[in-house]
Amino acid sequence: MSTRDEAASRPRQPSKARATATWILLLILVGGAAWLSDARWGQITGIFTDGGRYFRLMTEGLLQNPFSDPWAGYWTRAFDAMIESVHMAWVGTVLGAVLSIPFGFLAARNISGAVTVQLTRGVLNLIRAVPELVFVIVLMLPIFGFGPVAGALALGVGAIGTLGKLTAEALEGVDPGPVEAAKASGSGRLAVLRWAYWTQVLPEVMAFWLYRFEINVRASAVLGIIGAGGIGQLLSQLFSKRAWDQIGITLLVIIIVTVIVDMVSGAIRHRIIGGGKAKKDRVRDDAVEVGL
């Protein structure tokens, strides 16, 4: 190599101006946001002055004998409310899953026509962009009134957006071989969709459903604070009373139930997608999470 005989000239270090400019811009953005947010930063000391006290009060609530009055009642109430949230989340997920199936087929490029796909995707994006809370306020409360039914319906409608999109993407990724084989044997259109497409994507789609359920469990708590029942409603009542001992109990119940739901659902998801490919699963998980 010629470069080795005569010392090659050292290349100039590329300018760092762009990186520096990006950082400065970002810091200005964050600094500007800190100012424009209208946050009273001075109050941040509240965390240190009151934080310890509230934490102690919460812990005291947890340390009381849970089988004596009134603590037993607090625990039962928290569990009942959390179970109601889980039920709301489950019904919402089932609704969303069922409704998302046709949307998924309509939005898959390798199944439906270009116009249908564009239209369906538009609807799905629209649903995805609206927070569930807005669904509750706008559509459900006026008709269904306050309560978990409105919450479940809102979660169901909200789930259509993400589940429909993910189902469509799964359908677009199927192995075309079986589809071709089914068509070659003269199968009808519905049969092809059912046996060549749906059987291929079912495990993946069921994993999406479970994932959505995990998300809905958290979302159902949110809906509670505007009156859709469940743990959210209980929490906002307790916080307005500043009943820290009961808040401690309720938060712990939320953590316990959510962790259990996540664990069970996660284990089933991994079983469904085939346990051996742990690494692939994880990548898939990433994709799902970002997609949802």
Binding site: M1, T3, A7, A8, S9, R10, P11, R12, Q13
Partner: protein, 256 residues
Amino acid sequence: MIELKDVTVRYPNGVVGLDGVSLTIDPGQFVVVVGLSGAGKSTLIRAINGLVSVTSGSLTVDGHEVSGASKRELRAIRSRVGMIFQSFNLVKRTSVMNNVMLGQLHDIPAYRSLVGAWTQAEKEKAYQSLERVGIVEKAWTRASQLSGGQQQRVAIARALAQDPSVMLADEPVASLDPPTAQMVMKDLQRINRELGITTVVNLHFLDLARQFGERVIGMREGRIVFDGPGADADDAVFETIYGRSLTAEDILPGRS
């Protein structure tokens, strides 16, 4: 100077990597280790810089005991031992310069390394290392844009930036095409001669071993079965090392 006294390495799964090996490698020597895969070549090299821990026996590098060294001591020993890998092990998504800096991280305080504030001296060291392997013009290119041979030379520069007294190379040319393999081996030889860095290279092509090994060590089932100058390592010797007759695959393709 590297000294092994009755070194045994037993992996947690029970496999014996080294079986009572005793060996002395003098400063500045160029040693080629040959043997089938699983013969313990890789274990030998990784034991020298503590990537594999020794089960029993004593292993010293420049008088420092590697087996049983604390994390801190081990890092100090490793900083004096450069290592080159079969798969180059570059961080592909960053520049060649930053990859070479990886070799100097041992001596750079965390607050500077976090933001990548290299000093002029550190950059100078990196440039010199790159110049020594003739690839300085790529200093600010992304590592992912280099060919295999170029990547391996950057990896050599990374090791050189450590100012090593020992250079270890684990199958450095196994993923390269024959002409590039020759070039990389010549680089290693030149560096060994110019800087007097003790070099230990694992190879499985016997012609390269003969050509470059001023000393060839043959390994089989974790034991040393041959130790002598490359010129003495004829086909009969290799057949004992490999435990079978030689085939065309044992020779670097494209050469006779």
